[in-house]
């Protein structure tokens, strides 16, 4: 059973974290044929944490977790912090197929999205 875990930075502002929860609901609505479970997690400042988010996927029967970093730049968070937190759960569940996708900022399609916003 496949799962997708959207990972955002997390904010002190509840509204920002709520935006991520709402985005995750929209993802779940569109992902249903590809991913049986869609959850979100935050790197810091908010919950669920990344290990908690992965656990939520496991609790719903996931055998694979595709972690998608909702980040625009490849800083320490993307390069080190997310992989470190993912590794905690991978060690606990060696049978789980966990992959980290390219972060949002790598997508070529952002060009089209930005041009559409500009209009």
């Amino acid at each position: 059973m496949k799962s997708l875990l959207l990972v955002a930075h997390g904010s002190r502002r509840a509204e920002s974290n709520a935006e991520i929860a709402e985005l995750t609901e929209r993802l779940a609505g569109k992902a249903s044929t590809d991913f049986d479970v869609v959850e979100h997690a935050f790197l810091e400042l908010a919950t669920p944490s990344i290990p908690e988010g992965i656990q939520r996927c496991i609790d719903q029967g996931a055998t694979s977790v595709n972690v998608v970093p909702y980040f625009l730049a490849c800083g320490t968070h993307v390069a080190d912090d997310i992989p470190e937190q993912v590794a905690i759960k991978q060690t606990e569940h060696p049978e789980l197929d966990i992959r980290i996708a390219d972060y949002l900022g790598t997508s070529d399609e952002l060009v089209d999205v930005l041009l559409k916003l500009a209009h």
Copy 2:
């Protein structure tokens, strides 16, 4: 003459700022029929600043500037800081048509972009 100014946060990491410059080049390549000038600017930690970015557009003959915030969440930066810096140039150039577009995180299309990254 229309211009587009992509506004990113700015980073201490030169590579992150270079990613924005590279994205701006790709935007310019696709925007040519809609925007005669495409520039980028940073809110903090890097140059050009937002007023400098707007000035670059003006120097190339822009009569309108469409500011596109490259931000995922609507925090103080999007709500207050970008409008404040834009207002500095609007006061200097009252004839200039400056608009601030919705920030990247508002785009419905991010759902599709994220699903594509997950595959």
